[in-house]
Symmetry: D2
Subunit: 264 residues, 4 copies
């Protein structure tokens, strides 16, 4: 079986997957296949990667792939923490490389029901992304605090950081409010917006602090290097900025055209 | 008398002044002097420019200079519309070059009272700046509408514009709310933030639309050139971005240090 | 006949055309058609715009369209200077809107030969673009001079301008050298590179100077507004940046792949 | 003795020092003191940090500090590789934290002569910085190669990288040529220019490649993370960008003013 690099992002009880073949960048989590063999009350999982999926429809593809992967708590022994993500584990919660080679999981571990994994994943993705943005805003506030403790800091840099943090903070609050009051679907565009904005914002603020702290900024004495890695990965993780930009553009275009037609 | 270039920005009943000597860039509205001679129930105004003011205190300097200039409705004949501001009058309300050469204004025109001009000016500056930001947000929304009408537009550009407009919109609303609920002084930092952010945002969005519209974007067929000029001047008018960045940095630094000391 | 907006850029004896329908942005100069009727020793030209050309091949399309338009000195009466380009005529040489409505031109005016217009245009485009870049570099040097005359200028801004001007200057010299020693075809990628770089550079440097000069920067007392318009149009004229970016990317990709295969 | 964090950058036979106190960012290499005790044919070195040096003159200060530190090959045992610099050793040659606590070095190891360390350091700084820029250009060319191997890469990103690499390449060649033909002093401004430009260029190109490679870009499968760290540190190492910007601005201003006076 072809070796698969599979990055797993662990939240308390659920697993999200983003897959990656070494020479293929992909942000489509459906671009993966696995074989499942029922052995009484267990499943035997093997994962392999197929670039071209011959699915009948998107819905079927989503259901058939995710139903069994998402809901289980994998036995820890199958998590191989061999590929650390720029050592950002402390902040990020950890990324692991997993090789699913006849992994046995009890069938009773299934969440929600078979073939409903994608449903769970989609329900979690919005809040999951938002939670990253909230962390990014908090992280940036801490960085600004560090920046202001520096004697040599340029006043305008503080102002630039304050502006970009405040903008991201308000956009995050707005996205969270939309999610709470209008649900996941209505919040989709808002979450895509803050996902892009927060990653850039955190990258910029941390970069600025590193510049002011100089050599100390890239040393172990300050948490800036870890933050720098976290902020950079935020622009890739849970979908790269480019995917989210498309998520924003499409409804924007649709709404603008609807409005233009309403005028006529 | 030395010729003075004085740009006047007309709001309904009040006049704000920002002065400029051809070879000296200045954003300090107190950097100006005028002579006033009372002639019965009129004042005779002559304006000249002095770079180094020997004022006893800032407060005195503010009072002595502005008291008579701000509150009056100048007779229209003294407004010389000779120096148009990249022809942005339609949008901007008009900038005029004024030569105050024995201008007579009735003393009864005085607003609020003598020596209280700076007070009025300060009271108006916050809302005045905010109103520019609101216009910038509205203008940018219109530009995004134009952008979405274009067939060849790049989807990611629409998304980038939507993100930056939404961020500025929320920051403007937040500044307005702070002004309404906590007053001018508390809102000062917030207005400086949105003043910087909105000018850049509008410049970016209009620049993007011009690029998409190509030659048409710089023609008379679309309002983009006027908008481009308006957005560009917004980064200078009512204080250049650099002044506002300082306005943001100082209270930020002070608050951060206060908080740091409170922790100890 | 449908009204056509046609922008004509006059160089001493030759005319280059870029066409534009008010609601369609287009940078493809072949996207235009004209009818030509020979009347003894004259041609009668009518121009109209067709979006979808049903040409057999690109080469034929190029030849059939340009042969008669490029080579003639049009009678001045047919140039309608009704649509000025943000009033940049002094710097830019002038853009005119032309309506070709039964324009008569003597057949003897033809340059090089019939059906060879595109050949001429292509031969001129490279040097024409380069000449714009040279002007942009010269203009930026002048702006930096103005910047250094300012008392309040931030030292780092001078340095930023110097870096970007020097980079564009060297890239321009390199493109010119390639054009001189290896010909138009080899120079194509280099000219596309400097076309993009010089336009951005000039925009940035002028923008910086306007910010430092403040209100004076957008007044008639300094040439910065005209320069600002010129620099902005440079990012659209003679093909927008996006077209040139594609011109750079394709040979780069091809060469990289060739090299990668050579290694194997 | 106060613990000192001293980062040592090893080139074949010589040592360059940049010092750092954990809570003080500093790019002034003279901001350090050491005690030297001659013990027959050896020196005993102890290093400590003093923020405020009471030197009579800059020259004296330079001479007194560096004479003995620069020229020696320190015994390897005194290099404590405890503080790795984002693990960039493979590319960067290694940064070590050193505690000079009664380090014995043979007096015969001295290079050039006593009190001439600063002279050596200064002679090496220009070429040293240039060598970093050359590496940055080479690194960026490699990254562009990686970028072009990616299937999903956006064509315009390739073009953007090609433009910025070519600009930095030409600026590096120009700086090297100036250094070779006109010497270190004349080359100073040119080296400062390329130092700033190359660091930003490399950061931008690597950032772009990481975005295209997605999760793979921040994995161990590709060298992008190491390159990202190298490019980032380049904007701090050997003087942060801000110091170099000042190095550029001052002679630019002086030359511009000289030229302006010559015109009068």
């Amino acid at each position: 079986m072809e070796v698969l690099h599979l990055f797993v992002l662990c939240y308390t009880y659920t697993l999200f997957f983003s897959i990656l073949k070494p020479d293929v960048a992909s942000s489509d989590a459906t671009n993966m296949e696995c074989t499942l063999h029922r052995d009484k009350d267990h499943f035997i999982i093997n994962v392999f990667y197929k670039k071209y999926l011959h699915s009948d429809s998107d819905i079927q593809r989503h259901n058939s792939i995710f139903f069994s992967l998402i809901p289980w708590n994998l036995p820890v022994s199958s998590l191989v923490p061999s590929m650390l993500f720029i050592s950002v584990d402390a902040i990020h919660g950890g990324h692991f490389e997993i090789h699913f080679d006849n992994v046995r999981v009890p069938a009773s571990n299934i969440l929600l029901g078979e073939e409903r994994g994608f449903e769970i994943a989609q329900g979690q993705l919005g809040p999951g992304r938002l939670h990253h943005c909230m962390r990014a805003v908090g992280l940036a506030e801490w960085v600004l605090e560090l920046l202001c403790q520096c004697i040599e800091v340029v006043a305008h840099w503080i102002a630039e950081c304050r502006i970009t943090i405040s903008q991201s903070r308000l956009l995050t609050l707005h996205a969270a409010h939309t999610l709470d009051t209008q649900g996941n679907k209505a919040g989709r565009k808002h979450i895509a917006m803050i996902k892009v904005a927060a990653g850039r914002m955190a990258s910029k603020v941390v970069d600025c602090a590193i510049q002011v702290y100089g050599g100390a900024g890239v040393s172990d004495d300050f948490p800036l290097v870890e933050m720098y890695a976290y902020a950079r990965t935020l622009r890739i993780a849970d979908g790269p900025d480019e995917v989210h930009l498309s998520t924003i553009a499409l409804p924007e275009l649709r709404d603008q055209r609807r409005r233009a037609q309403a005028k006529l």
